[in-house]
Symmetry: C2
Subunit: 573 residues, 2 copies
């Protein structure tokens, strides 16, 4: 099509409200338009990108025997009540009443709808395994949308659900889907996406993986071991410690620590290494406001996801009142009030000579030995892994913490949904069981933004040819020159009629405007027809990533472009 007809404005200035590059590029390049907080409209270039991404995903899902279906966006709350998520999920689940007063929700994920769709179909073991998927709009009422298409409230997602009669079968299928996901990201031009072990969160289930594009602007922290290849989301990474015990078995001694509320202040005041101290972090349960105290080694932080998984409910940072029996800044294991849940991190196990709160305002203990001085029944893994920390897989001090954008995730759900929603099948012996589920998601718009984030320069995106809105961008520089116009017109028509997707810029604007618009559209191949080159019988052919820049004779141009398309396509197969 002709660029002068393309709806949407392109401009140079980076909008001040865009914190990340892909967001700025999508606004500057006429890809998206802000409608409301976390809600955007897409112009044609982005819609073409997302359609291509959708088709790649569809193809890979079909190859693993997925059946495309469609679930509703608006669902009756009763479905979510069956699974228990109507109450367990927070306010990111948008709830409302329809004109008849019926309680409804906007779908943010569709496990319930999937089970509802196949509950009757899957009553015999002979129907298994099977997988259904959809590509559909979802709504998640995020508290803090950010980063353009990275974290939005309304988004298009491919979500897939598989059903199995054994854990082994699920695991085999899960591996196939894992491979399908790698194929999707490779074909979409981001083979650098890695998979990391993750926490299953509100989805339930045990084993799960996230597919991450590593980038400094990512929202997730990922622990990666370069030595053995271990990788996990910080939320899920197991924390391993080297003991720091000095074998020095001092006595427990109460010391006056006036106005020293943080463990850093106390350690400095007492001349102690923070590794030889006990940090207390206090939360309250959302359901009954009961207190939870987590004790970790002073140099570590609490991993709230691990705490949440352990106690099995949502919580929030505590408000410590006078009546609760806790003394903010002076909380310790010795003699702590019995009214709260107390968790001990494994980093404290076997240690001694520690500094800790004395549960009395302005007093701490020195010489604390957990085994001797407190009645600890159990230690758990409640701490955050740290950069330079020990790899839980190979045991080396090789953990690097990187940031990443989650572009996909897969979960082994188990029977959480089939059990709660009463989906059963009869096995060959006539016995009833709940099917075992897996689920598999990819955010389409977020993937587009992630590709842009990974592949752009100061001037705009560098779209991989597999998802580029068009393949070739023809610039007719000085379209008022008859020869330029005729050559470019002919090229445009020949390419279009041979099925190449062409954006044709024959506007009477300067070369500078033309090229900066072309940069913002980011099409992989650029063809420049100009009076200067035509004098030598040439046209210019280059790639957006600057790897190719050649002059070819006008007669050879179509063949050369076709060849270049094939070469670029071969990189995204």
């Amino acid at each position: 099509m002709k660029l002068e007809k393309l709806v949407g404005d392109r401009f140079k200035e980076r909008p001040s409200d865009c914190q990340i590059d892909s967001h700025a590029i999508m606004v500057r390049g006429g890809y998206i338009k802000y409608v409301a907080n976390g809600i955007f409209s897409s112009y044609m270039p982005l819609r073409r990108i997302t359609r291509k991404i959708e088709n790649i995903i569809r193809d890979e899902m079909d190859k693993v025997d997925g059946q495309e279906v469609q679930f509703p966006v608006v669902m009756p709350a009763s479905l979510w009540e069956e699974s228990g998520r109507f109450t367990s999920v927070g306010s990111e689940l948008l709830r409302f009443r329809d004109r008849n007063g019926s309680q409804m929700v906007l779908g943010m994920t569709h496990e319930e709808a999937a089970v509802q769709l196949v509950r009757e179909y899957g009553q015999s073991y002979s129907k298994y395994p099977f997988m259904i998927y959809q590509i559909q709009t979802k709504f998640r009422d995020e508290a803090r949308p950010r980063g353009g298409l990275i974290r939005v409230r309304e988004f298009t997602m491919k979500d897939a659900y598989s059903f199995h009669t054994s854990q082994e079968d699920l695991e085999q299928y899960y591996a196939k889907c894992h491979q399908a996901y790698e194929n999707v990201f490779r074909r979409a031009g981001v083979p650098e996406v890695i998979s990391v072990a993750s926490d299953s969160g509100m989805m339930g289930g045990n084993v799960s993986h996230e597919f991450m594009l590593l980038t400094p602007i990512g929202e997730d922290s990922i622990a990666i071991c370069d030595e053995c290849g271990y990788s996990a989301n910080m939320e899920a990474a197991e924390c391993i410690y080297e003991g720091v015990s000095t074998l020095q078995n001092t006595e427990l001694e109460k010391v006056h620590t006036p106005d020293k509320h943080t463990i850093e202040d106390v350690c400095e005041y007492l001349g102690a290494d923070p590794k030889k101290s006990v940090k207390a972090v206090v939360y309250q349960r959302n359901d009954d406001d009961a207190y939870i105290v987590v004790f970790v080694r002073g140099d570590l932080d609490v991993n709230e996801t691990k705490v949440r998984n352990y106690i099995g409910c949502e919580f929030h940072p505590a408000v410590i009142t006078e009546e609760c029996g806790l003394h903010a800044g002076f909380i310790g294991p010795v003699g702590i009030t019995e009214s709260c849940t107390v968790l001990y991190d494994r980093s404290l196990q076997g240690e001694n000579d520690l500094v800790c709160g004395a549960n009395e305002t302005d007093y701490h203990y020195k010489g604390f030995s957990p085994a001797r001085d407190a009645d600890i029944k159990e230690y758990g893994d409640f701490a955050k892994i740290t950069d330079g920390g020990i790899c839980p897989c190979c045991g080396k001090h090789s953990i690097k913490v990187s940031r990443g954008i989650e572009v996909g995730n897969i979960f082994q759900l188990g029977t959480k949904y089939t059990k709660t929603m009463g989906m059963t099948y009869l096995d060959a012996n006539g016995e009833s069981h709940n099917p075992i589920m897996g689920c598999y998601g990819i955010g389409v718009g977020r993937l587009a933004a992630a590709v842009c984030e990974a592949h752009h320069d100061d001037y705009g995106p560098i779209w991989p040819i597999s998802i580029a809105p068009w393949q070739v961008h023809i610039c007719a520089v000085r379209a008022d020159d008859e020869e330029v116009k005729n050559t470019a017109d002919a090229l445009y028509q020949t390419l279009e009629s041979s099925g190449v997707e062409v954006m044709y810029d024959d506007r009477k604007v300067s070369a500078g405007v033309m090229f900066s618009d072309a940069d913002l559209l980011g099409l992989p191949i650029r063809v420049v027809v100009s009076p200067r080159n035509l004098k030598d019988g040439c046209i210019e052919l280059s790639t957006r990533d600057k790897s190719v820049s050649v002059k070819v004779s006008a007669a050879d141009a179509v063949d050369e472009i076709q060849k270049l398309i094939k070469e670029l396509e071969a990189k995204c197969v």
Copy 2:
């Protein structure tokens, strides 16, 4: 794919809650699953149908220079406040508040979003005309969803919006879109869809057309003239009358009509022709409950759409109280209370010697002459056209009233949205104007259902090949017979590898079960491989519409099938 893997159940019994055939077929054939009132999930066969319909629509929209974009499903109410529709549209617009208390709506149509998307882009006349469209989920909180996919609450729709700088340009483009719509319906296998003039309803604007598939189960009534080709929705059809004046100029006389409340009863009691009487129909405005009395000739009915367009607001059937000054059953033009709005239909103009209410309980008038006895300033067109009535175009008594399903609509919107939402452009002289809009909708799921309604038999749908979920259905009757299995397997593989979409049934079930499942899937071409036919070296080839049924040699089968596919495709071009 293999039928035994297809998720969804098929069964013979017509569900008791399905009033129309397409609904019953979609449930019986494993196309849809009920989720909530007017909300369905789609299984794979329907999803494949809707995708093919979407692609046909997309292709035709691209051909009229449409640019595919995407608007949000969830929109801020502020957008709808700009256009005024947040208050003017009834409770079919679903309104809710998000987690931050912001008022939001679920998109049921996207004029506001379209204007918002291009308001900045379209500031110069040089950008015009342009058209943007999307294919997206919509939600309309219907009071009475019915008929399976015919009237639902959640649906997928293609909606397009064009922008122009002159009425002439809009009209030219409108004609192109009209043609594109005819192309869509022809390619989707329903060339019998007709376009009818329609009322623009809540969309605003003047000229509009609906595309109707005529069927007795349709929700709309359409007036069609076989003589001149005139067609219009009943809501919009102008009503023409032949005068019935008898020139007999009798005196106005009050008569006692005890307990005769309906005009039929009164006419019978007085021995009068209903054509020689005045019927009163009373409504109340929704905003202030003020009364509206419409007088029409006794044999006609009031067309509420025309009344609504005339008075410019919503209303409801009246509750007549003692205080309101109206006497239910005895309301007439003579001396009617001045507290209500009174409308006179053109059917009363020039008549005389009529029976009408006397505005007094148990009394009517005889000999009423509107011109002489009442102070009527204006007559309007407020009556419903009737079967056998006069064509407003050619004047013959040739109107037939048929029923139809609306599968698409197009509107000349004018400047309703660009004015209210402040979208302007500068013309070549630097003067500011509001662009003129057109909008163009097609419901994807409803079109699928309409095709099914138009093309089915007692056993299932007869899908046109252009939208059929698969092209060919292979039945391996007696798949336990080795030769049958080998022949069918080979055929399946050859066809699939040559790009034919095949559903392969090699289940060990009876031929009866196989064929009834095949009927419910409704694929255009059926191939039966059976021991009996193979004995003669043959396989059976037939079409679902029964127009073809031949035996071909196994060796020729692939060629013959390919030929048949081409023949069927040629019908949907």
